[in-house]
């Protein structure tokens, strides 16, 4: 485990850092989306060669490729892990595209509930946007394919992929929403996604991680705004609805089909049960997903708060008595007051827009916008209550209906954010997921809040990288035999350094198999070399080369053996073979190679005679050849050599003449000295030319 407390961080001090740090210590965080904006959340992070991508959303205000995060900035194939915090479109909707249309080949994780709803929501998104968008990013089939690749993670479950350890905490916000903590080599990064520290009717509040991260990437949707207390918001909400319907008006609540809608339904259900007079006013939950998402909400009760779980023991709190589902506008019998909750929440298209167009000019009606609205959407426009609005058919109509904006979106406000950060104390804070202005204001306030501490607060724009350096100390654990004695300063330690993930161990080679799955091996080699000469020759020659050659005899077969350099054993296997026997290591291999070379050499010297004598065809030719050689040699020795009669050679040196009988080797000469010299020379020549007497 690397220590985090001691790690020194220096931000953007590249000139100072490069000298000491290697590239691996550089941590890069780049928002590919949601940098100084809300929507298309996607944050890239890389450290020590490991790469993590957080979220993969689209921008709801744009369509087609323009809605995607800036994937061009990165190489998708290098990403190890992709973590999705929750199912909202701005956090998860570009996932099918990223999985199916890019080179990404890492692993994707999200919580169980997120995965279940992700499919519902995206299939619906594909269906709805089919009408309005030509260049579809992905199809229903892509979504189904992506389901195969998504893996699930449970809250607090710690997983490790390729040395990246990560786990998640409850984030509040919506069912299944998670905050991810990523630990690479002891450097921890917390990515909050969207979170809320306030417990509501069905969700738990975001947890406070028990470890302080080194970097906290945090949402800043609400900037420095403060939420009204929950009960006041609920009262405003129910009052607005109550007064509208009691005056015979209709109430439109545009909302995301899943997530906050369930919270609003729980509020409405409770209000209706407590107010008998409203019994006849119908509430419609107009979403094609209404029924199917119920199964999800019923199943993942364990991700919700205690309140819901205790209710669940008696009956399913998501079975509503006063709320009926509405499939499409055709099934809607629009007579008298009613409350309709319809998706999408931003009023671009779909049922909520159709109803808005129908109801907007009647001042009895009301529209309650219950969540955060994204810049550039019709919902954002009507919050400012313009006199006129443009309908979907292009005409303009007066906006007479009342517009209420009561936020129930479970994002943290300034109070929550500041207390969260104060308790967490991250040395580095990166703000994402917020409009530039809000973010700027939040940054100012946080800077003054953490003025006494050396906290860095950064608000990178899209594709703007934040670089930091972490020189985490590498710690190793010395174990096993090597650790029997703790060494003193100045002593040496030698052993195997084994690295797994980011943990290091030093051990003796013998212990390797005990402490890891690796094992060591001995390779014994035995090679046979043809050699037909005398074993003593080899011994003799080896002794000339090597210092240590011990000879002995093999106990089993009784054949002589030699042990060279204490490592290689040479054994005479048979008359024609010797064998070499040794345990592989570089030195022994070298010794054995030299022995092999030596043996081969000895072999070749002997075989030369054999090889050369063989091609000699007839004896005559052989004899002639020998004669020639003898003649030539004698010429070189004595100069004047002539062929005399009877096959004798006449050698004359300085006037002295010698007659040499080639057959017998007899020499006749007057000069004794010459006679003797010629005889010796001839003998030597003969023994060289015909070393083995033919008769033998």
């Amino acid at each position: 485990m690397a220590s985090t407390g001691q790690s020194l961080t220096s931000l953007k001090k590249r000139e100072a850092a490069t000298a000491n740090n290697r590239d691996g210590d550089q941590l890069i965080i780049t928002p590919l989306g949601a940098g100084n904006e809300v929507g298309r959340s996607c944050v890239y992070m890389s450290y020590k060669g490991k790469t993590v991508l957080f979220d993969c959303g689209i921008h709801p205000a744009y369509s087609g490729m323009a809605a995607l995060p800036y994937f061009d900035e990165i190489d998708p194939s290098t990403i190890d892990v992709l973590l999705i915090t929750h199912f909202h479109l701005d956090h998860a909707a570009s996932l099918p595209y990223f999985l199916e249309k890019t080179t990404f080949k890492g692993r994707v994780f999200m919580t169980h509930a997120t995965k279940a709803i992700y499919k519902l929501l995206l299939s619906d998104y594909v269906k709805v946007s089919k009408v309005s968008v030509e260049d579809m990013l992905f199809t229903e089939q892509d979504i189904n394919n992506s389901m195969e690749r998504i893996e699930v993670i449970d809250f607090h479950q710690t997983l490790e992929v390729n040395g990246i350890r990560f786990w998640c905490y409850t984030a509040g916000h919506v069912l299944g929403a998670a905050m991810f903590m990523v630990d690479i080599a002891g450097v921890r990064v917390l990515y909050t996604g969207d979170y809320s520290r306030e417990e509501d009717r069905h969700l738990r509040a975001a947890e406070l991680p028990q470890f302080s991260p080194d970097i906290c990437i945090i949402e800043s949707t609400y900037g420095v705004q403060l939420h009204q207390p929950r009960h006041i918001r609920e009262k405003r909400f129910t009052d607005a609805i109550h007064s509208t319907v009691s005056q015979g008006g209709r109430v439109l609540i545009p909302a995301f089909a899943l997530g906050r809608a369930q919270e609003l339904l729980l509020i409405l259900e409770e209000y209706w049960s407590n107010h008998r007079e409203l019994e006849n006013v119908p509430i419609y939950y107009a979403s094609p997903l209404a029924k199917r998402c119920m199964a999800v909400y019923q199943t993942y009760i364990n991700s919700m708060n205690e309140r819901i779980r205790s209710q669940y023991a008696n009956s399913n709190p998501f079975e509503f008595k006063h709320i009926s589902p509405l499939k499409s506008i055709e099934n809607f019998n629009d007579v008298g007051p009613s409350v309709v909750m319809a998706s999408p929440g931003s009023l671009q298209s779909g049922l909520s827009r159709q109803l808005f167009d129908r109801w907007c000019s009647d001042k009895k009606n009301a529209c309650v916008i219950p969540g955060y609205v994204i810049e550039g959407t019709p919902a954002k426009t009507i919050i400012n209550e313009p006199k006129e609005v443009t309908l979907t058919n292009g005409l303009t109509a007066p906006l007479n209906m009342q517009v209420h904006y009561i936020s129930f979106s479970a994002h943290a406000d300034y109070a929550q954010t500041s207390t969260f950060l104060k308790e967490l104390m991250p040395p580095n804070i990166i703000l994402v997921h917020g409009e530039a202005n809000e973010m700027g204001r939040l940054k100012q306030k946080l800077v003054s809040l953490f003025a006494d501490r050396n906290t860095k607060i950064i608000t990178p724009k899209n594709c703007q990288s934040v670089e930091m350096y972490f020189t985490s100390e590498k710690m190793a654990k010395t174990i096993g035999k090597l650790a029997e004695k703790v060494p003193e300063v100045g002593e040496t330690v030698s052993g195997l350094l084994v690295k797994k993930g980011f943990t290091y161990q030093i051990m003796a080679p013998d212990d390797l198999r005990v402490f890891s799955q690796l094992s060591t091996a001995n390779v014994t080699q035995r090679i046979t070399v043809p050699y037909s000469g005398a074993f003593a020759v080899i011994k003799h020659r080896l002794k000339q080369i090597y210092e240590s050659v011990e000879s002995s005899t093999d106990e089993e077969s009784g054949v002589p053996t030699l042990r060279v350099h204490g490592q290689v054993t040479v054994k005479q296997e048979s008359e024609n073979h010797i064998s070499l026997h040794w345990t592989a290591d570089p030195i022994s291999d070298m010794v054995s190679d030299s022995i092999v070379a030596l043996v081969l050499n000895a072999n070749r010297e002997m075989s030369k005679v054999v090889v050369e004598s063989e091609p000699v065809g007839s004896e005559e030719e052989d004899a002639r050849k020998a004669e020639k050689i003898v003649h030539a040699l004698l010429v070189s020795l004595f100069g004047d050599v002539k062929f005399g009669e009877n096959g004798k050679l006449v050698i004359s040196v300085d006037g002295n003449i010698a007659h040499l009988d080639k057959q017998s080797g007899d020499v006749e000469s007057e000069n004794e000295g010459l006679k003797e010299r010629v005889r010796m020379a001839f003998q030597r020549i003969r023994s060289a030319v015909k070393p083995i007497p033919l008769s033998a």
Binding site: E484, V489, T492, L497
Partner: protein, 740 residues
């Protein structure tokens, strides 16, 4: 030195008794599992009672009685007060199991070992964890991390991993490596070389048929009985293995469009299934996947009807049916009653899906050959009437008055001794002590009585912890008219027979759990009447292994794979334990322990370790070689000290000394063969050696399967004549290794 680890079994070694073990890690005492048997035999808990107050944390691994049954009792009576850790399903289903037990018992006896409130309060302080959640223990056990991992067997079943300073102690009992309908297989195999592994020998001698074949036989047996107009009783546990059986039946009924009714009858069946529906995260991947795709919750049961009261079953029209009823031991609960009703009809089938606990009726019936007749006790709770009621009320009044008197006395005393406040406190304590004393006496008697009833005709020696298997003499005499019957056997000994046969009034036929609970919890004075009778066992009896545990062979191969440094064996018959011990000594590791009850064994690893810092200078010169998930390098370093006194490794100032070469790597002959083949070398296996090309042979010697042995380094022999090929193959061979 390594982390000190001691293991002390409290129950369940060398036999199949419930599990409870004390594992101390550096002085921090974990009680792993806290089981009890279906008899609630208090004598089993004696060792636990001696250590209960010293326990620092309790870890529960499964949701059945054998693993957590004693928790309420230990919390209430034995002074166990440590925090408890379990997964959400173990917590929830364990709670339901205990409810079911209590209600079943209360219905037929004056059960007073623990109450529903005791169960609630015991389960209240369970900390719920998810799989592979690393929980850092604070306070006394600082530095210890516990994490539950998938065990299979039961929903939420846990293999516990206790980690301290990088050393793992793993507790894995009743795991299942096979993937089942509703559960994933265990992840035990992903742990390698833990310091200590504690596992069970329960199944060491068992072998299982293939799942497909077993399922088929199971369904065939059921269908045969149903078609012959018989009833099928499956005695099951409350919320464990029954889930798998329900899925098998559901699936088969759905496939074949069968109309025979199936009933799941326990006191908590509807809550069980309700909760199980919300535990999809804990189930197998296929169940999660089907939910994601079709929104079909696998436990949205279409064919199995949930009943919580036997009268509901009685109102079902006659005809063949399948009933899954608790308890699996047939000792209590609905299964007991139904058994008595159905046992004497040859058409019926009683199908056991798990081995009964020792000394229970189920175990007796699983004997081969099964007994011809068994004695059973039929008990019923009836409201008091007439004189008895009056007597009871009088008694209650008397008690009330006494209490009032006592209270007033105490008050008086208090006011008297208002200056000396200690005295009344002391008095109260004495009073309390007396109370507990008398109640524990009562428990003793109670359990004695139980034993007498349950193990009829057999008196276990008072010293023995586990009763011997009861010997039942089937010496029924026969005469010309068949078996000689002693009419006395059939005469109920209780005079209250009339009352017993009275139709159960509305009070009993309550709804859901509340109904039955209300009967037991309501203050209406009632009493238990019992009758003993002998029933002829005429129906078919079948035992099939649906226990969902790994079989002997797989256990052995898993253990060999995990290869712990030290292995502790618990839970399993003496024979099985001994068998597995011998096997592991030979094939797994040299340190295998099988301690006796209350024998403390020290499994502290003889491992030495110290920490050093790796200096940047050293690391910049280290070249790692990647081998699988490891990276490895040879280092020669000089020891230095950092500013804060840590040892650190610095590069050597002098040239590195030579060191013996090591070849690192694990070569598999088959893999190497493929590798050579891919390089264009002709390879084949011949006589245990790999023949490469024309003349070169490669062989591995030494026992490769002995993983734990320290001496077993792989020995590879490469032989051949001097050829070019030889050097080529040697080069390939070297390429498989890393020689630092």
């Amino acid at each position: 030195m390594g982390t000190s680890v001691q293991v002390k079994p409290l129950c369940g070694v060398y036999n199949e008794n419930p599990l409870a073990y004390l594992v101390s890690v550096d002085g921090f005492n974990f009680l792993v599992d806290c089981g009890w048997n279906d008899h609630f035999d208090a004598s089993l808990l004696e060792p636990l009672s001696r250590v209960a107050p010293t326990v620092d944390a309790v870890l529960l691994s499964h949701s059945d009685t054998l693993h957590l049954g004693a928790l309420p009792y230990a919390m209430k009576k034995l002074g166990l007060s440590a925090p408890v850790f379990a997964t959400e399903p173990v917590y929830r289903l364990g709670l339901l199991t205990m409810y079911d037990h209590y209600l079943s018992r209360k219905q037929v006896s004056e059960f007073d070992l623990f109450t529903l409130d005791d169960i609630d309060s015991a389960f209240q302080n369970i900390t719920r964890l998810t799989y592979s959640q690393n929980y850092h223990i604070s306070g006394k056990g600082e530095g210890i991390v516990i994490a539950p991992h998938v065990a299979g067997h039961l929903l939420g079943g846990t293999v516990w991993k206790i980690t301290k300073d990088g050393e793992d102690v793993i507790y894995a009992v009743d795991f299942n490596h096979r993937k089942e309908r509703h559960l994933n297989g265990t992840v035990l195999e992903s742990f390698v070389r833990p310091a200590v592994l504690i596992t069970d020998a329960y199944n060491a001698l068992n072998n299982q048929p293939s799942r497909r074949q077993r399922d088929q036989e199971f369904l065939d047996a059921i269908m045969k009985t149903l078609r012959a107009d018989g009833n099928v009783l499956l005695p099951v546990d409350t919320a464990g293995r029954v889930l798998e059986l329900i899925l098998i039946l559901e699936q088969f009924w759905e496939q074949h469009k069968l109309a025979y009714p199936i009933f799941f009858l326990t006191y908590v069946s509807s809550s069980t299934i309700d909760y199980v529906k919300s535990f999809l995260e804990w189930m197998s991947d296929s169940i999660a996947k089907s939910f994601e795709h079709t929104r079909d919750n696998a436990f949205l049961l279409r064919h199995v009807k949930l009943l919580i009261n036997k009268s509901d079953l009685e109102s079902v029209p006659d005809g063949p049916k399948v009933v899954l009823a608790s308890m699996g031991s047939l000792e209590a609960g609905f299964s007991h009653d139904i058994f008595v009703e159905w046992v004497s009809d040859t058409k019926n089938l009683i199908l056991f899906s798990e081995r009964g606990q020792f000394g229970t009726l189920a175990r007796m019936l699983q004997a081969d050959p099964p007994p011809k007749a068994v004695k059973v006790t039929m008990s019923k709770r009836v409201p008091l009437v007439g004189e008895e009621l009056a007597a009871y009320e009088e008694e209650q009044n008397r008690i009330k008055k006494e209490e009032a008197l006592k209270a007033s006395l105490i008050k008086e005393e208090e006011s008297k001794a208002s200056l000396r406040t200690e005295l009344p406190v002391n008095d109260q304590m004495v009073l309390d002590a007396n109370n507990t004393h008398s109640s524990s006496n009562a428990i003793g008697q109670r359990s004695e009585a139980f034993r007498d009833v349950l193990i009829d005709g057999f008196l276990p020696p008072s010293t023995s912890v586990a009763p011997m298997f009861p010997f039942y003499d089937c010496s029924s005499e026969w005469d010309d008219f068949g078996e000689v019957i002693n009419p006395d056997d059939y005469v109920t000994k209780d005079v209250n027979i009339d009352q017993m046969l009275m139709p159960v009034d509305g009070e009993l036929a309550g709804k859901l759990d509340e109904g039955s609970v209300s009967l037991i919890l309501d203050t209406t004075p009632s009493k238990v009447v019992s009758t003993e009778l002998t029933v002829q066992v005429k129906c078919s009896l079948i035992y099939m292994d649906f226990e969902g545990r790994s079989d002997g062979r797989s256990i052995k191969s898993i253990l060999a794979h995990v290869a712990p440094l030290k292995l502790v064996l618990v839970h399993g018959s003496a024979e099985a334990t001994e068998h597995l011990k011998q096997h592991c000594l030979q094939h797994v590791c040299p340190h295998v322990y099988a301690p006796q009850i209350e024998e403390t064994i020290d499994v502290t690893s003889d491992l030495c370790a110290y920490k050093v810092q790796l200096s940047e200078k050293l690391m910049s010169n280290v070249l790692f070689k990647k081998l699988g998930e490891y990276e490895i390098a040879w280092v020669d370093a000089e020891v230095g000290k950092t500013q804060n006194g840590m040892l650190s490794l610095l590069p050597l100032s002098s040239p590195a000394p030579p060191h013996k070469t090591v070849l690192v790597g694990d070569i598999k002959m088959a893999d190497f063969k493929q590798f050579l083949a891919s390089k264009g070398v002709q390879v084949e296996f011949a006589g245990g050696a790999l023949r490469c090309g024309e003349y070169v042979t490669l062989r591995k010697v030494g026992d490769a399967s002995q993983k734990g042995g320290s001496a077993a380094i792989q020995q590879i022999i490469l032989e051949g004549p001097l050829t070019e090929e030889y050097y080529k193959i040697r080069e390939y061979l070297y390429s498989q290794f890393y020689a630092p």
